[in-house]
């Protein structure tokens, strides 16, 4: 029987994958942060996988998750969605990120489109990307203090460039 991309990944990185699920084809693997670069390279450069398209890169802040009822051992999760144009495969990779050392490896050298995505995640969540060529804010202005999509940022704390502060 043909192996799914997730099964191939599990076979290759069994010790680095902490959790998987594949409900109706949404194949997801949670991996250790230190394995991200190797996993990404494997997904991109294995001919029978050939994930040549980074569809989305985003992050989740689990502070106060489910009203504080669910406490995760990590604060953030960076989520990657990959797509293989050749084989019509999709896979989702999640990387837990600690609050104190909010940093993961950059994938800019593998997928050029990661550049702006990673800048957006840095801007909104304050997660750094090691090896990024130009990690600066992309949506907010340089004068903005803090990262607005972090759950501990007050939702209506405004930092106007001109006009009154209110």
């Amino acid at each position: 029987m043909l192996m799914t991309p997730l099964q191939k990944l599990q076979e290759q990185f069994s010790s680095q994958i902490t959790e998987t699920h594949a409900f109706r084809g949404d194949e997801t693997a949670v991996i250790r942060p230190e394995a991200l670069k190797a996993v990404a390279q494997f997904l991109k450069e294995t001919p029978e996988l050939d994930f040549n398209f980074l569809m989305d890169l985003s992050a989740v802040d689990y502070l106060f998750f489910a009203g504080g009822r669910i406490q995760k051992p990590f604060r953030f999760e960076v989520v990657y969605h990959f797509y293989s144009l050749k084989h019509n495969y999709r896979i989702r990779i999640k990387v837990p990120v600690d609050e104190k050392q909010a940093e993961v490896d950059s994938l800019c050298d593998l997928w050029a489109s990661a550049n702006w995505y990673e800048r957006e995640v840095w801007d909104m969540f304050g997660i750094k990307f090691k090896g990024h060529p130009n990690l600066k804010r992309i949506l907010m202005y340089e004068e903005f203090q803090g990262h607005p999509l972090r759950k501990d940022y007050p939702y209506n704390k405004r930092q106007p460039l001109i006009g009154p502060t209110y």
Partner: protein, 186 residues
């Protein structure tokens, strides 16, 4: 108009004629940032035909326009640009806040959105609505024409602390606290 003194007769008549000329030759600067722009285009096109009111000629240079139509949400990042465009316009100039986002911030109450452009630049006519219907826009345009005819211009900003400088109908705008209270009361 005063007919009592010759000089008064002359100046007030000139003012009247100027107002008449200005209100039927509005060169607008459409500062379109968001979805309200579609409604603005609908108003400008053949069916509603803003050109009937002499306002059918959008200029994309602030130097050549005399009414600034701010159409769509203004973010704090965009605010200095809007202020620059306003400052570049020659007198006399008027500002129309098109859509509720420009009037009060609308349903946005967050880190990114300016809570009403009248905190940055003076606003002459507020056209709330999400988006306003073309009839609303034309009503606002006619009110603006009346204002131009009278030779009036708004010069004051809204102060969010004292709540002065904005029509009472637009006060008490959307906040998340009020929204949560509203949900919990049902």
């Amino acid at each position: 108009m005063s007919l009592s003194s010759p000089s008064g007769f002359f100046t007030s008549s000139l003012k009247h004629a100027l107002g008449w000329a200005r209100k039927f030759s509005i060169f607008q600067y459409p500062f379109v940032t968001a979805c309200c722009g579609m409604e603005y285009m609908a108003t400008n096109c053949a069916h509603y035909d803003q050109d009937r009111f002499g306002a059918g000629f959008p200029r994309f240079s602030p130097r050549q326009s005399d009414v600034l139509f701010v159409v769509g949400t203004i973010s704090h990042k965009m605010a200095p640009v809007l202020k620059t465009v306003y400052d570049q316009m020659c007198e006399p100039k008027w500002v129309v806040a098109f859509g509720v986002c420009t009037c009060t911030g609308g349903f946005y109450d967050n880190y990114a959105t300016v809570m009403g452009i009248d905190t940055i630049i003076p606003v002459d006519i507020y056209i709330p609505g999400c988006p306003p219907r073309p009839e609303n826009v034309l009503d606002g345009l006619m009110k603006l024409q009346d204002k131009i005819q009278r030779g009036e211009q708004s010069r004051t900003l809204y102060d969010p602390h004292t709540k002065k400088g904005r029509p009472a109908e637009l006060q008490g705008s959307y906040t998340i606290e009020n929204h949560i209270k509203h949900i919990e009361s049902h």
